[in-house]
Symmetry: C2
Subunit: 358 residues, 2 copies
């Protein structure tokens, strides 16, 4: 057993190493969660884009494979926005050249695309499944739902992109706060601000969050190897949450176009964009981000912006191109390795422990 | 003597602690450099905005006060751009409402504002003064000048905001590279790219730079206490460069409006803007940044955008307002302390050493 100095996160999650798997809708399910749990970290199952039946099956698979390790079920807590017809038309107009290029008939476009906010039915499932950890992104659900989750005894954690968001989460009873630096891949968890110009990086955010909060802080964003884990713990984090580090792992369900992009990732080829889903998220720069612009006021609100992209993705993905789909990655994508997630997690934790003289 | 593990930067700069003072035009001169040198770090004198005579006097003062410690003279290496009359008019038009508000007569506006690029006269001064370290921002000067600097025996270092820029600097003979993360205050050193959307944060940049380069990497951006210094060394940096940490120190020449802003700095109230000088630089968000926009295509090229702001600053600064002037700060401004720079530097280095078990 490694003698990590700050045991708060270890005790809270009953894990051996202070390392959490970031929930990654589309790229990680029970297999990836199991692999990280086998390494002594906390596995997570992203639940926002899958059905209640699938959530139940995934949890069962995880629990069987890990002999009952603690699991983190992740949900989105956004307030859905219904756009005006005018806003919808503006986004379709913006995408019209692509529809023409790929022969897409606008009348055939699919409606929205998954990513439902946490609701009463999901809450009932929590009450049945009793996951040890429930995490939220984009803030927290309304009090009535949050109270029900807490009544199950679940540990509740959520993402904060600023100290102000961290305080807000702590005041509402979160047991730990994920400090999500600007380097992080995928959706930014921001909910008190939409201003991407002022979002702090991991290096500045973590110590200021630690100074402001009483609950343990989990560092996320740009951490993808043992050096990063050791550095985050030096900054005062009680644990780290890693996603990009596992995107190329055997157990990840990362699609081919996404894997291709990750294999040539650089420090300077990701950006935060809202054109893929309607909310700011970091991914490897692709054609639609470059051409429509990273942050477009034309993009429909989350998650609706992504719907009309579905046929464009379908037309290009078979060629291995990621031109019209999310290629989520943090800024440390170049550090992601092609190995088993258990091995990746163990090597990261062991190297960090060695560096810190543990 | 502290037993830092990676001695490359210590030996290169003949310092006791792997801590460099960031050159900060307007906020730090020989007094601040001396204070940091007294703590066992490397002092720096920003030379881009002062006359040759002042540079000479500053170096003399520093050398006398430190009994000949090594000194880092910092210069800008940008290629000046002469704007068209149309571009100049566009910027004046953009600022016209402010001129009206404060009764500024456009005919009375001052020309540019200092910040000259490194030239032959400065190079001659280097040949005379023989500083042990010469650093450049915005790339490197032309070969003929760089060769003359290197012929003096000076150690040459420069800032890179991406791994590509780091490689470029190493190829041209830099003895060490400053990895300037997106959290950093003041001017971004970017020179191969203008794209602020893809600039990596310190956490992601440092390890990737370390992996790519043979020369020592100096981490900069968001580092303002012992935790940050320890974390940067974990990421593989051979040393750290700190600026914001010293902005409130007794020896800094930071003006009152700037100090006032720093005393209420938060993790999420800085942004990268080009409206204050024409080049992207991080500062505490003030009125002109908020109203004109962080990155404006109307801003004149560096350093000319700042000229027309001079009378607006003069009209507001006496009231302690920083509405129209640079309030440079990294994202860790809230960690800056009001103490002597020697004490600040020593406490940072000692805490980092303790954390790393040194």
């Amino acid at each position: 057993m490694t003698a990590w100095i700050d045991r708060r996160a270890l005790d809270l999650f009953a894990i051996e190493h202070p390392l959490l798997l970031a929930p990654m809708a589309g790229s990680g399910g029970s297999a990836l969660a199991t692999a990280v749990a086998h390494a002594g970290g906390l596995g997570a199952i992203p639940c926002a884009s899958i059905s209640l039946q699938t959530i139940e099956a995934e949890v069962k698979t995880f629990r069987t494979a890990t002999s009952g390790a603690r699991v983190n079920l992740n949900f989105f807590a956004h307030a859905p926005i219904t756009p005006t017809g005018e806003a919808t038309q503006r986004w379709l107009d913006r995408l019209a050249p692509y529809f023409a290029e790929f022969g897409v008939n606008v009348a055939d476009l699919p409606k929205a695309g998954g990513r439902a906010p946490f609701d009463s039915a999901m809450c009932s499932l929590i009450e049945t499944l009793r996951p040890e950890v429930v995490s939220f992104h984009f803030g927290l659900p309304v009090d009535a739902l949050l109270d029900r989750v807490k009544a199950t005894g679940a540990i509740v954690i959520a993402s904060a992109t600023t100290v102000a968001e961290g305080r807000w989460l702590q005041e509402r009873g979160c047991d730990a706060v994920i400090a999500q630096g600007y380097e992080a891949g995928g959706h930014r968890g921001n909910f008190l601000t939409d201003d991407m110009a002022t979002q702090p990086g991991t290096f500045a955010l973590v110590p200021q969050m630690v100074d402001a909060l009483k609950v343990p802080v989990i560092a996320a964003g740009g951490i993808a190897d043992g050096r990063g884990m050791a550095a985050a713990l030096c900054l005062g984090a009680s644990a780290v949450q890693l996603g990009t580090a596992f995107l190329l792992s055997e157990e990840a369900t990362t699609v081919t176009a996404h894997r291709n992009a990750l294999r040539t990732a650089r420090d300077d080829n990701t950006a935060v964009t809202n054109v893929l889903t309607g909310r700011p998220a970091r991914g490897i720069v692709n054609r639609i981000m470059r051409e429509v612009g990273m942050l477009s006021s034309d993009a429909l609100p989350f998650p609706l912006a992504g719907g009309p992209l579905t046929p464009l993705r379908a037309a290009t993905e078979p060629d291995g191109l990621g031109d019209f789909q999310p290629l989520w990655s943090g800024q440390a994508g170049a550090l992601a390795r092609d190995a088993s997630a258990t091995e990746i997690a163990m090597q990261i934790a062991e190297r960090a422990a060695r560096m810190l003289g543990i």
